[in-house]
């Protein structure tokens, strides 16, 4: 079982000009659902296609076209809900959110305001070993994405591409449980990690496949605890919503700026106006989006083109039975089975591809060498790949090859130093590690007779050093170094050490 004992992190405190303030943050994360086709049409979701080529007439809002829901999108939303330990609503329904914008040809977005497909769940956001924030999820609903407007191709016109129009999004709404900018970024990171494990969203923030709206308010220390007791928002400050951020760094910067802006207003005796704001990364500030405010009346109503979405418990159970192992479980298992540290297990499970690679390496070694294998994956392999700017998928060293290197070290066939040379050879030239060791004479000398001979030779040639070492036993290291040099690094350092100290009578 997963060990879920952790302490909550301390909330971030901002020192204003007059007093101390705390932050209260809630997020709406928009995650593009990984499917082949769109939510209500058979057009492709592929990124980067020619403009307006992934568009069905449904997406273009042509008269008389009717939406038909993509079952794959429903399954992905259910999968995500299960991954966040959330309730699945067997009956949900779609509503129209009405507004006009050039990238929304229907004139409304089909969403789920009143009856979302996923209800309450939770995410555990680890901030340090044993320190984590439990963030409650309020709901997840399915909705359509809008198209893309490009404003810089013509001085007087905006260009509109409807390829993204109608692609399925999951909007994941959290409770206001997040208490600082770092926590907010870590929360988005955790959601991203879970969804990537589940395969429900690729988490590509650069392409806009994962974006967040952040609600920020400030309160005085103690007020948040009153809210927690009563769930009465009256204890919290007025919030502002910062729209549409697609970078962890921007999320943190925007929250930091927005909190300070609100504190300055409040300490000046002013009050916060609830509004939607935009973050400008160039200026590092948020500003009001008044134009959107004016049209904020979305006149939601049930979409008459769509019947309620009814799914079977057996279908949900089947999805649940096939859920992959999630990051928290994988990490706990790595720690328990291979004795990895919290940090190492965290590094290896951060990305699913890394975890899969590590497990494949471990398959080639004994369980007791899991920790050694982890060191090699994290320090040697990741370091080397980073140097070449390669992803794990493009690693020139296969898990089988790396596993063999680790096994050779573990058996005592090669020393750690030689292993690094061997790794470099496998990385650049390829080949079977054991064969390379054999062919190039890299095998460690464990034959004590050979080592003794080398030690004797060095002792005989350096009488002055021997005298010094007898005064200062630390100098034995010098002899070990000389022996290693004389044997081309192939002597077993532990054996050398033992023989040297013995012969010097230390």
């Amino acid at each position: 079982m997963l060990d879920l004992t952790f302490e909550a992190p301390a909330p971030k405190v901002i020192q204003g000009a007059k007093e101390e303030w705390e932050l209260v943050i809630g997020l709406e994360v928009h995650a593009q659902v990984s499917t082949r086709a769109k939510l209500f049409s058979g057009a492709s979701t592929e990124f980067g296609a020619e403009p307006n080529s992934n568009v069905a007439f449904v997406d273009a809002g042509m008269p008389g076209m009717l939406p038909v829901i993509n079952e794959g999108c429903v399954a992905q939303a259910v999968r995500t809900g299960l991954g966040l330990k959330a309730e699945i609503n067997l009956r949900s329904a779609f509503d129209r959110k009405n507004y006009f914008y050039p990238d929304l040809p229907q004139g409304y977005q089909i969403s789920q305001l009143y009856h979302p497909i996923v209800g309450e769940g939770e995410v555990i956001v680890e901030m340090a070993p044993g320190v984590a924030r439990r963030v409650r999820i309020e709901r997840i609903h399915l909705e359509q994405d809008a198209g893309k407007s490009i404003h810089d191709m013509d001085p007087a016109m905006s260009f509109v591409d409807l390829n993204r129009t109608g692609v399925a999004l999951m909007e994941i709404v959290s409770r206001p449980d997040i208490r600082g900018p770092e926590e907010a970024a870590a929360y988005v990171g955790k959601l991203r990690q879970i969804m990537r494990y589940l395969g429900t969203c690729d988490g590509n923030m650069q392409n806009g496949n994962l974006r967040a709206d952040v609600n920020v308010s400030v309160c005085r220390p103690g007020d948040y605890e009153k809210y927690q007791e009563t769930q009465d928002f009256g204890h919290l400050g007025t919030r502002c919503e910062i729209k549409n951020m697609n970078s962890m760094r921007f999320i943190q910067q925007a929250i930091e700026f927005e909190a300070r802006r609100q504190i300055a207003i409040l300490e000046d005796g002013g009050s916060i106006v609830q509004e939607t704001r935009l973050y400008d990364p160039d200026k590092g500030e948020t500003r009001s989006m008044r134009s959107k405010e004016e049209a904020h009346d979305y006149r939601y109503f049930p979409d008459p083109d769509l019947l309620p979405l009814e799914i079977e418990q057996a279908w949900v159970d089947d999805i649940k039975a096939h859920l992959p192992e999630l990051p928290d479980q994988k990490k706990a298992r790595f720690m328990a089975d291979f004795g990895l540290s919290d940090y190492d297990a965290g590094v290896l499970t951060a990305e699913l591809a890394n975890a899969i690679y590590f497990e494949a390496v471990v398959n080639h070694v004994e369980a007791k060498d899991g920790k050694l294998a982890a060191n090699w994956v994290i320090n040697e392999l990741f370091g080397r790949l980073k140097k070449d700017d390669l992803g794990i998928e493009a690693s020139p060293v296969s898990p089988a090859q790396l596993g063999e290197v680790v096994a050779l070290i573990s058996k005592g066939d090669i020393s750690g130093k030689i292993a690094k040379e061997l790794f470099e050879i496998v990385y650049t030239e390829g080949g079977e590690p054991a064969k390379i060791v054999e062919e190039r004479g890299m095998k460690q000398v464990t034959d004590t007779g050979a080592i003794e001979a080398a030690v004797d030779e060095i002792i005989a040639a350096n009488p002055a050093q021997v005298e010094k070492a007898k005064q200062n036993p630390k100098l034995a290291g010098w002899f070990v170094g000389q022996v290693m040099k004389a044997t081309g690094g192939k002597a077993n350092p532990a054996a050398v050490n033992q023989i040297v100290t013995g012969k010097l009578g230390l």
């Binding site: 403009p51 001085p155 016109m157």
Partner: protein, 95 residues
């Protein structure tokens, strides 16, 4: 519920329908007639009756997750008042 000329103006704006100022009182009055008719329905006791979303006795039809449509940009753009380089071209909209 009663609709005044301000509400009528707002509704027209939200629906992007141009209504001249002098036509607003008449529009508001028409709204009120319609709403008055609808309010009559409130006289029916629907306690314990589940809201009906459709009169068709069927479940929501679903499609498989396969690409069956698209690759027709020229048709998609055929009715656009202005299109350039594969995009719809519209008067500049910038936040």
């Amino acid at each position: 519920m009663s609709i005044d000329t301000d509400t009528a103006r707002r509704v027209a704006k939200l629906a992007r329908i141009r209504v001249e100022e002098e036509a607003l009182p008449a529009l508001a009055s028409e709204f009120n007639t319609i709403l008055g008719f609808i309010e009559q329905l409130n006289e029916v006791d629907v306690d314990g009756v589940e809201p009906m979303t459709s009169v068709t006795p069927m479940h929501l039809k679903r499609r498989d997750d396969v690409v069956t449509d698209g690759s027709q940009p020229e048709k998609v753009l055929a009715n656009a008042p202005d299109a350039r380089e594969g995009f719809f071209a519209v008067p500049k909209v910038v936040e």
